[in-house]
């Protein structure tokens, strides 16, 4: 037998023998306060949106101070000048029109991308060859920047919405499919057996067991897909100018850069950020609260 004896030099041979005792438990009123309300400051600090607003205000303040010191509106306009340009853009309806054009296109590409991702992952769950197909395609196409496909898309589909939608689908599809597929695969074996126990098969099994059970991963995929779609859309409009006739936010930024109206360029970027914040904090947050958080699948 190997020598595994541990030196016990620091420990006494036996613990001391102590007398036993029993006590009556005192009612909590005698001890003092068990629960006390939080102070107003603590309550405010518990509000996530307040904390985040505070961070945003700090960033805006830092921007304003830096830009004023730099004093070069062609490089970095101040936050107030950006806001002014933003309001002016809103007031004459130009920004809103561009936003509407961009979002409309974005939603079409996003929806189509999601539908295709669902079909691919469903195929992957139902057969081994479908699984191989999805894994090969995601590993091949996921690293390929959507914008790199735009020149080809322009040749295939010409100037217009179709080219943009094509690259949007490409940017959404693989990210969403990858997350959904990995979510499906991490569904616990017990839940799978429960589903089959009650006779679920094929699409019913995917819809009633896999999708809800993998919803945290699917939601992550939806968020990443949304962000990728935005990036692709703005980049496409920036690089190739107006490719869809009407022009969106990217085109707004591009145009104003050409006219050296830098506050308006910042206002365009600001709008992109604003939409991102709204979508994340209102739409995705509410979906989370109504699903994965209510179900206790995410804290």
């Amino acid at each position: 037998m190997a020598e595994t004896h541990i030196s016990a030099a620091q420990w006494p041979a036996a613990p001391p023998v102590r007398p036993e005792y029993l006590r009556d438990v005192v009612a909590s009123g005698d001890i003092g306060v068990v629960q006390k309300p939080l102070t107003l400051w603590q309550q405010l600090f518990n509000q996530a949106w307040l904390r985040k607003t505070f961070i945003l205000v700090l960033i805006a303040a830092a921007w304003e101070i830096y830009a004023r010191q730099l004093n070069n509106p062609l490089l970095v306009p101040t936050f107030s000048a950006t806001l002014e340009a933003f309001w002016a853009g809103i007031a004459d309806g130009e920004i809103l029109q561009k936003v509407a054009n961009s979002v409309q296109l974005l939603l079409k590409g996003y929806a189509l991308g999601l539908a295709l991702a669902l079909i691919f992952t469903a195929l992957a769950m139902m057969s081994r060859i479908g699984n191989d197909l999805l894994e090969t395609l995601t590993s091949a196409f996921n690293p390929l920047p959507a914008i790199a496909l735009l020149p080809l898309a322009l040749i295939w589909f010409g100037l217009g919405d179709l080219s943009i939608i094509f690259v949007l689908v490409h940017s959404v599809l693989w990210a969403v499919a990858l997350n959904t597929h990995s979510g499906f695969r991490s569904v616990s074996n017990t839940l799978r057996m429960v589903g089959r126990n009650y006779g679920l098969k094929g699409l019913g099994y995917i819809a009633r067991i896999l999708i809800p059970a993998a919803f945290p991963s699917i939601l992550t995929g939806l968020k990443i897909g949304w962000a990728f779609a935005w990036r692709t859309l703005i980049a496409a409009e920036l690089v190739f100018g107006v490719s869809s006739g009407k022009g969106g936010l990217g085109w707004y930024i591009y145009e104003n850069k050409n006219m050296l109206d830098i506050p308006a360029v910042f206002a365009g970027l600001f709008t992109v950020i604003l939409i991102g914040l709204i979508v994340e904090n209102f739409i995705f947050r509410n979906i989370e609260a109504a699903t994965v958080r209510k179900w206790g699948m995410q804290s």
């Binding site: 006779g199 809800p212 059970a213 179900w295």
Partner: protein, 266 residues
């Protein structure tokens, strides 16, 4: 609900050899295991870890195909999972977290096509009341304790009124006090509805308490060591004078001594 049809067994397992593949090995889980379960039986499969008892239950559940042997439920061969054999697993995550207690039970009834609409809801509530969870019918599983989750799983399974209730160490993950209470509740439910249950456990006291018939399996691979009767009271055997739990202990423990001797002499 499971009136024994004459003297024919409800579930017949004959010469069942089960094998599964791991990355490097072909493991034989059980070797030529045979047993019969009759209607209203509380049939316990008992054995140490490695005797293939859970694998055996999975096979009867239709989740894996046997290498040899046959399994028949009401005379029909078992080929795939089905709602006539409803499982209660050990894991708490067997409840669908996105559904409330009531929705979980209704889900089972509707997915299997047993009941729909109002009838499914009424059936669900009837069985949720049986496990004393009516107050929690609209709660989500993550707000319940481990014992309550298992009671929901039992209610969901019983609401299906299956031919055989399949329980895979359903109380093993509970604390000792809750486990004791759940065992009593299960017996009370059985007195009320007389379901047939196939119950897998590695706990001798649990087997003695729950089972009316106990199948003993020896490990590596699982083989039938014998079948004993129990009346739940751990009575002494009139012949040997030994208590049932002691006899089981000896039967399962004898293997270990032999094994050790083989190791020493080999």
């Amino acid at each position: 609900m499971n009136a024994p049809t004459g003297s024919a067994p409800l579930l017949q397992v004959e010469g069942l050899t089960l094998q599964y593949k791991t990355e490097k090995h072909l493991v034989t889980a059980t070797y030529r295991v045979s047993f019969d379960v009759y209607g209203a039986d509380r049939f316990v499969v008992l054995g140490p870890s490695g005797c293939g008892k859970s694998t055996l239950l999975k096979a009867v559940g239709g989740y894996m195909a046997p290498t040899e042997g046959t399994m028949r439920l009401k005379g029909r061969p078992i080929r795939e999972p089905g709602a006539d054999r409803v499982f209660v697993f050990q894991e708490f995550d067997q409840l669908l977290p996105w559904k409330t207690v009531k929705q979980n039970v209704i889900f089972a009834l509707q997915s299997s096509g047993k009941l729909h609409g109002k009838a499914a809801e009424a059936q669900a509530m009837r069985y949720i009341e049986k496990v004393n969870l009516a107050k929690f019918a609209n709660a989500y599983p993550h707000t319940l304790s481990g014992g309550m989750k298992q009671r929901v799983a039992i209610a969901r399974a019983l609401a299906m009124e299956p031919d055989v209730l399949m329980m895979d160490e359903p109380f093993a993950a509970l604390d000792a006090l809750t486990r004791r209470k759940m065992q009593e509740e299960l017996l009370a439910l059985w007195s009320e509805t007389r379901f047939t249950v196939l119950f897998v456990t590695h706990s001798i006291p649990e087997a003695v308490l729950i089972g009316n018939r106990i199948l003993l399996l020896s490990p590596h691979p699982g083989q039938v060591k014998g079948e004993l009767n129990s009346d739940g009271s751990d009575r002494a055997d009139p012949v040997s004078g030994h208590k049932l739990s002691d006899r089981i202990h000896q039967l399962l423990f004898a293997d270990r001594i032999e094994e050790q001797e083989i190791v020493h002499h080999g």
